[in-house]
Symmetry: C2
Subunit: 199 residues, 2 copies
């Protein structure tokens, strides 16, 4: 005899989630069957609601309950400035920093020939359309700082280059609150390259 | 602006689960809103089903869809042998080993004066009732091997002692598949104490 069938099924479902292995799934399942019915219902409802009510913005590709999303519709945001990110969740990271007041564009990933991600798999065509109809004067590329992020940034800079458009990339350098001793060589060499005059 | 409301709520619900911090919750929530609707519904349904269909066995305290549970009702199991464990999930661990053919009793924890767990908070009274009506001749204590597990075992051995009943404890020693160099002192001293003659 083994786990009761409903628990085994729940464990199976939970292990499909990112970062949840068989052990954690079992632990969570055990926790749930011993929790208050109302709390369990709330969790199930939260899962369904999130999936049903949240979708992608047709313009920028962010996660939103309305399309176009709040970022695209916000008149106080600079419409000439668009920040290009890999995933919808990156927008929330940038928003948390509280310093960016432009709009966004979600690529949906980065170029990776190894994993079969070609330009046509990313939302680059959508970005080109936006460049034609919106008064965009600067694209800020804010992709990951790995090899694929680099390659994608250079590809975009070339493909999207047009008169009157500035394409920039967010600075790479030392993260806040750490010392030189914790930084790897690549981060340090980029921090040096990106040095700026103190005035 | 921050996360869409349904996602924020889902993250809140997910962080109440054991082992899920804010970061993993966000990652899982993002995964779910981008998953197939059917898979998401399946997960929500699995959660509800597990909570609704699984309960505790009135006799042994195990997790089950029927009460008494399959272990208690199984006529092929030795009714004279009862293994005492802390939590329902321990039963599944023992079953996986495939060597135990008796019945079970779940205590629901172990004595811990610091955390306010007194004998009346555990299913000891229920075990005493079973000793009166079931033909039990041996209790195998299979609690954790920490201080509280030790204290609980000694407490049970004293309180449950009666004529015709043997109370044993599972062996403590070296785990399978490791060398002496990975064992701590306490494990080694217990492995030495528990040595048996090779015949």
């Amino acid at each position: 005899m083994s786990l009761p069938d409903p628990i085994a099924k729940l464990v199976g479902s939970l292990t499909t989630l990112p970062g949840i292995g068989p052990r954690s799934a079992e632990r969570i399942a055990m926790f749930l069957v011993q929790s208050e019915v109302n709390e369990v219902k709330q969790l199930a409802e939260a899962i369904l609601q999130a999936r049903e009510r949240v979708g992608f913005c047709a313009v920028c590709g962010s996660l939103t309950e309305t399309s176009p999303c709040g970022y695209c519709r916000d008149p106080r945001r600079e419409s000439g400035l668009v920040c290009v990110v890999e995933r919808p969740v990156d927008i929330f990271s940038l928003e948390k920093s509280g310093t960016y007041r432009g709009k966004y564009h979600v690529l949906g990933g980065k170029l990776s020939p190894v994993q079969g991600v070609e330009p046509e798999n990313l939302r680059i065509g959508e970005l080109e359309k936006r460049l034609m109809v919106e008064p965009i004067r600067e694209l800020v590329l804010a992709l990951g700082t790995d090899v694929e992020g680099d390659a994608t940034s250079y590809y975009l800079a070339q493909r999207l280059s047009r008169p009157g458009l500035t394409i920039t990339r967010i600075a790479h350098g030392l993260p806040a609150g750490t010392g030189l001793e914790f930084a790897d060589e690549l981060t340090l060499s980029r921090a040096l390259e990106g040095r700026r005059e103190l005035k």
